[in-house]
């Protein structure tokens, strides 16, 4: 990662302007042209240094539902169960964590009812009980990681 990468990552975490040429001012600041910025973003995405670049949607404000879930997968079946959970398009994120509850995933759906449907599907596909941890109250969401 070079200085150019760092500047792009740090600036673009904060947001992109809503105008015809949103990379123009960043390009000026960095002494380069917009095409170079776009090419570098593309490379950072390909290298998985950036995981996403675009509008960050709030599923709930869009009228949908978002719930954190967890299950306890037997070690010998872990990969297979992860595959089954990931196969659902409603699974937005899935992490392996060190605990008896070793698989933590976020379901994002268009309606509250659909969360329960997907949970029931996952339970029947995997044979695991799924615990739901919907957020009841939220305190500050947002982290800027300095590259």
């Amino acid at each position: 990662m070079d200085e150019f990468d760092r500047r792009i990552i740090n600036t673009l975490q904060g947001g992109l302007p809503l105008c015809e040429q949103p990379f123009a001012s960043l390009a000026r600041e960095l002494g380069t042209d917009e095409q170079q910025i776009v090419a570098r973003i593309s490379k950072l995405l390909d290298d998985n240094v950036l995981t996403r670049f675009g509008p960050l949607y709030d599923a709930e404000r869009l009228g949908g539902a978002l719930t954190l879930c967890a299950l306890s997968a037997p070690p010998e079946e872990f990969e297979e169960i992860a595959g089954k959970v990931n196969a659902h398009p409603e699974t937005a994120h899935n992490y392996e964590r060190e605990h008896a509850l070793n698989m933590w995933f976020v379901l994002a759906t268009e309606s509250r009812g659909r969360i329960d449907e997907v949970v029931t599907e996952i339970e029947s596909e995997t044979g695991c009980r799924v615990f739901q941890f919907p957020k009841q109250e939220e305190f500050f969401v947002g982290l800027k990681l300095d590259a």
């Binding site: 673009l12 975490q13 904060g14 947001g15 992109l16 809503l18 015809e20 990379f23 095409q35 776009v38 973003i41 995405l45 290298d47 998985n48 240094v49 950036l50 995981t51 996403r52 670049f53 675009g54 509008p55 960050l56 949607y57 709030d58 404000r61 869009l62 009228g63 949908g64 978002l66 959970v85 990931n86 398009p89 937005a92 994120h93 899935n94 992490y95 392996e96 964590r97 060190e98 605990h99 509850l101 698989m103 933590w104 994002a108 268009e110 309606s111 659909r114 615990f131 739901q132 941890f133 919907p134 957020k135 009841q136 109250e137 305190f139 500050f140 969401v141 947002g142 982290l143 990681l145």
Partner: protein
Amino acid sequence: MECTSEIDGGTRRLVTATQGGLPLCVRPYAALAEQLGVSQDEVLARLSDMIGDGRIRRIAAVPNHYALGFRANGMSVWDVADEDASSCGREVGELPFVSHCYLRPRHLPHWPYNLFAMVHGHCREEVEAQVERISGILGGRQRAHDVLYSKRILKKTGMRLNGGT
């Protein structure tokens, strides 16, 4: 589908076209407009409305923590009394190393924790020190806590409407 009326056609098309990311070009909103068969002004206006009411948090790059050296990601979980939970959450959520802080339901008897705070550090020792700071702030209001470290990202695509992958 239950909530279709919540998302109108134009918004749905915009969300579907961008949930995998913004077009990577010098004029991304113009490219979107062409793709959707609408004017660039309409794309900009819709995005602006959605940012205004929080349906879009921001248009931004999301870094991979691990690639940036934040190799330790700990989900700290705390059992605090219900009557203290909101004030505890507010205090913990303000800490600079906490990215997400929520109250969630307990699942007794095995899961007594109701306050979740995501902590990021360069290494586990850093996360442990940060968890100690949270513990110090909560003081006697905490009854138990644990930290669940992430071992692997199994999937990280974000929300996908319409069954898109």
